[in-house]
Symmetry: C2
Subunit: 85 residues, 2 copies
């Protein structure tokens, strides 16, 4: 996926997941630095309805494989530093 193209495609994602990939509400997960292949799998499962969530099923419905790849690449590309627990 193309992270630069993805950044232009995440307009529908930002209200809940942020441009920075940090959740804006208690229902939505953080996506910053998330595993790219996991994001592709999640969006694909939301698109098909295999994974159910009212908002995500609607938003994912119209996405192409390329859109999914690009959006996943964008959120995966955000750098995250984890402080050891």
């Amino acid at each position: 996926g193309d992270a630069r193209a993805g950044r232009r495609k995440i307009t529908a994602c930002q209200a809940c997941h942020g441009l920075d990939g940090l959740s804006k509400n208690p229902e939505s997960p953080n996506l910053a630095g998330q595993v790219e292949s996991y994001l592709v799998r999640s969006l694909t499962a939301y698109r098909s309805g295999e994974r159910r969530n009212e908002s995500m099923n609607i938003v994912a419905k119209e996405l192409s494989d390329e859109d999914i790849a690009d959006m996943a690449a964008y959120y995966a590309s955000i750098q995250v530093d984890v402080l050891p627990p």
Copy 2:
């Protein structure tokens, strides 16, 4: 949830999600700093089978509500710094 108790309960989680909450394989998401209520919802849905994943359905099956709350609290408590994209 009690993050200290959760740390003792995540033995089954570590191989894939790490003690540090960073994924150890391309199938598994990072959990470090994830939204606590999202983690509770995910584990609960894996336990009931509403959300399907072979490994997670098996692992979550025996968890109590308290286990889920504690494990979610542990992973949510890991500090994460995000570098602005």
